[in-house]
């Protein structure tokens, strides 16, 4: 997904360009790799919750590194200290780097103050996956949820991030929603900064 550190034959390390984006990986290569990742984890665990947790941990490692990379590539990037700032950063910049487009929508949850949702009609990772009935509510988007959690955690916004299917009328495949629930201290800090 990201091609940093492609060492070409440069005589001097200082001549190496600080890589810009636009490095593309084939979709099928990624799909194979991801399916292998899921299958490998499936043989290691006994239940669904554990599988989801493992995928999320894998995503967390990716998220932490993506954050470092993006902060370096974006010249003049300011450190995000506000909630809306970091959310729009995840929603546009991170999604653009990972999936080539911005996320479909970003919404604020109505029931709780600390919940936000990023929705996508068709998550890239779920495109070639169909969940068997006996897996219940398992969603491979847990990997993407882990990535978001890694990015938020690294920026200082601890949160619990999960992925859910939301059935939509008029579409046969349900929409995927990433639900972000921020920790207490984030809300307190936000109130302190904003108020």
């Amino acid at each position: 997904m990201i091609g940093v550190g492609k060492i070409k034959q440069y005589s001097n390390v200082l001549d190496k360009p600080l890589n810009k984006g636009k490095q593309e990986v084939s979709l099928s290569a990624f799909a194979f790799l991801f399916s292998e990742l899921v299958q490998y984890n499936q043989t290691q665990v006994d239940n669904i919750a554990e599988l989801e947790r493992r995928l999320e941990d894998a995503g967390y490692a990716v998220g932490a590194r993506v954050l470092e990379l993006l902060c370096h590539r974006e010249r003049g990037n300011r450190r995000e200290t506000r909630l809306l700032g970091i959310l729009s950063f995840v929603h546009s910049t991170v999604w653009k780097i990972l999936f080539g487009k911005v996320a479909d929508s970003l919404e604020k949850g109505t029931e709780h103050e600390d919940e936000y949702m990023i929705s996508e009609k068709e998550l890239l990772v779920n495109r070639f996956i169909s969940i068997p009935k006996d897996m219940g509510t398992f969603n491979c988007g847990a990997f993407v949820a882990g990535i978001v959690r890694g990015v938020l955690d690294g920026s200082g916004f601890p949160a619990v991030v999960t992925a859910h299917f939301v059935p939509m009328e008029g579409q046969q495949r349900p929409r995927t929603t990433i639900l972000i629930k921020f920790a207490e201290e984030v809300l307190r800090r936000e109130a302190r900064l904003g108020g």
Binding site: L18, A64, L67, L69, H72, R79, T81
Partner: protein
Amino acid sequence: MIVCVAIVGHQNNPLYIQSFTEGDDALKLHHVVHCSLDVVDERVNNPKKSGPMLNETYLGLLYPTENYKVYGYLTNTKVKFILVTTDLDVKDADVRNFFRKFHAAYVDAVSNPFHVPGKKITSKTFAERISTIVKAFGLSSAG
């Protein structure tokens, strides 16, 4: 002449310390780096109430000691880069340039899937790149 570079994690744990002179006591340099962390924290936690200054990555000259100058740089993940130099006339643009290359090397080192975030950086490639960058800095500012 750069005498020391250091990378400190977001919980003020050291991730990488490298000194480039044999004469000076390495412990004294560690101590200087440690004191500079306090200055960084002070700058971060007391917002000067001016928006653009608060979120800048490059922190500039942290404090001058008797024969060293200490520069700081803060990334988005609260990882701090500390640079200790004995040059008296080093230009701001040079230091910014140095930190940019340093950040690039750091991002590459962290992208290593075998690197555990929070542990020390043990990659030899990283150490080599850092020494190259340091040498280049010495040459450019001497001229």
